[in-house]
């Protein structure tokens, strides 16, 4: 359903042209959990932003269901690493209602029901009317995931969503995400620099090299293990 074909991404920083990725090609099928794994600075986040429609590729194209991606849209919902992705002036519930109504997906009364349903899924019912700044990091990410899932997107784009969490919370959240994805048969594009996270979350893993990001290998978790991925990332 998602095709990334020969995508080169470049951006300007301090008058210098930085090439983030070079001719990256991969395709994601329905209900894949497709993990892009790479060291920091391999352009994986930039790649995800391009799929999100925030950046235009300088070369190649990105197609969702055969249609070129041109701009951000609610069929590709983003979950960021940063905790401030929740609107601080809205409660957990209103953050989800905002997403549903702003995108024109549904009217407020329906949106409220749906918001509560997804808040329950991520076990935040008690905190539905709390403001984000009163929540812990893990709870904020849960709320962000609930907001994304409630949108029922074609594909969920996750940019190291658990990287800023402590180890215990992270592994708990990975487990919960797996359950949620399997329940909803969701298609996910997940970016991470953690090998163990890639193995745990992914049904397919794309390994990128650093500076600029180029495809090194595409694997399934059954066909590889931590040492093999480590080798791919740091040697070869």
């Amino acid at each position: 359903m998602l095709q990334v074909r020969g995508v080169t991404l470049q951006y300007r920083s301090h008058k210098q042209l930085v090439t983030a990725t070079r001719r990256v090609t991969f395709s994601v099928s329905e209900s894949d959990r497709f993990v892009v794994l790479g060291p920091s600075g391999c352009g994986k986040s930039t790649l995800l932003k391009a799929v999100g429609g925030y950046i235009r590729p300088t070369e190649g194209d990105i197609l969702l269901d055969g249609v070129p991606v041109k701009a951000p849209a609610p069929d590709r919902v983003f979950v960021f690493q940063e905790f401030d992705q929740l609107l601080p002036w809205k409660t957990v519930k209103d953050n989800i209602v905002f997403a549903l109504t702003a995108s024109g997906k549904m009217q407020r009364p329906q949106a409220e029901d749906r918001a509560m349903q997804y808040i329950q899924k991520v076990k935040l019912t008690e905190f539905a009317s709390s403001y984000p700044h009163t929540l812990s990091g893990g709870m904020k990410q849960r709320a962000a995931i609930a907001r994304a899932l409630a949108m029922d997107p074609r594909i969920l784009l996750m940019d190291e969503p658990f990287a800023a969490l402590d180890a215990l919370t992270r592994s708990q959240m990975q487990e919960e995400l797996l359950h949620l994805c399997q329940d909803a048969r969701l298609t996910v594009l997940f970016v991470t620099h953690s090998i163990s996270e890639a193995l745990r979350i992914g049904t397919r893993i794309l390994v990128l090299s650093a500076h600029p990001g180029q495809v090194k290998a595409e694997l399934t978790p059954d066909a590889c293990d931590e040492t093999r991925l480590q080798e791919l990332l740091f040697h070869a």
Partner: protein, 254 residues
């Protein structure tokens, strides 16, 4: 001891010192006693003179403040939309911010004549720069992540401004509103005090000036107290309440 109690105690102490000193000085023309001042305040309120002056001042203030806000909104929109607008705002703010609004009053009197037009003009000047600059820098400081979230959910241009940028910049906007209010209030009292307004009726500044001319010094003090009271009410009651209900509740105060 809670802070409210401590402050009340301090106020009482100050009033007592005032009273003792004024009695010792025994010169009501220079320095009336606290009790005389309070009496003058109450009789001024009872006679309707102070309420009339205060209403007059407040009406003028609200008109000027709103006009200033509207101008600031236009300028900020212009600055946010175009590079030339941003340069324009930065240039004008750095030029006019150091210029006390009251310094423009003589010129305003020449342009708009002796009347409310001139006062509204200086009030706009007092409010405009602080509000425009704070709003604009608040917009620019809205985090890139929030902006991306706004775009992700397919907001329209106007929706993006009203539902992401304005609430995201609200702490800064509120600071601008507070500074703008403080400037406007001080400017207005000063303008009334020095120039009065079109003969006959006038605001609190004019009241103070007139009472001094008639050597009714307790009334002068009563007028000053009224100015202080209004300042306190707006700054500590109105703005504090807005703050508690918005930026504090959202955990966004700077």
């Amino acid at each position: 001891m809670p802070s409210a109690l401590r402050k009340t105690a301090l106020l009482v102490a100050l009033a007592v010192i005032w009273e003792v000193y004024a009695r010792w000085l025994n010169n009501p023309l220079l320095f009336p006693t606290f009790i005389d001042t309070v009496k003058a305040l109450f009789s001024g309120i009872a006679s309707g003179e102070i309420p009339k002056a205060a209403t007059y001042t407040l009406r003028l203030l609200i008109e000027g403040y709103l006009a200033g806000l509207a101008t600031a909104a236009l300028l900020t929109a212009f600055a946010s939309a175009t590079q030339i607008g941003a340069d324009f705002l930065e240039l004008l703010t750095s030029m006019f911010n150091p210029l006390p609004a009251i310094a423009l009053l003589p010129l305003a009197l020449v342009w708009f004549g002796l009347g409310n037009g001139s006062i509204i003009f200086v009030l706009i000047h007092a409010v405009l720069w602080a509000v425009a600059l704070n709003t604009y820098s608040g917009f620019r400081a809205v985090s890139p992540i929030l902006r991306m979230v706004g775009q992700n959910y397919g907001l329209s241009k106007i929706g993006y401004v009203t539902r992401i940028l304005i609430p995201g910049a609200f702490p800064s906007i509120l600071t601008g509103l507070k500074i703008g209010w403080a400037f406007a209030w001080r400017t207005l009292i000063a303008a009334e005090l020095v120039f009065g307004v079109s003969s006959g009726s006038g605001g609190l500044g004019w009241y103070i000036f007139e009472q001094k001319n008639q050597l009714l010094i307790p009334n002068v003090f009563a007028g000053l107290l009224t100015v202080i009271l209004f300042g306190l009410i707006v700054e500590n009651l109105i703005f504090r309440t807005i703050e508690n209900r918005t930026v504090r509740r959202w955990g966004m105060q700077v």
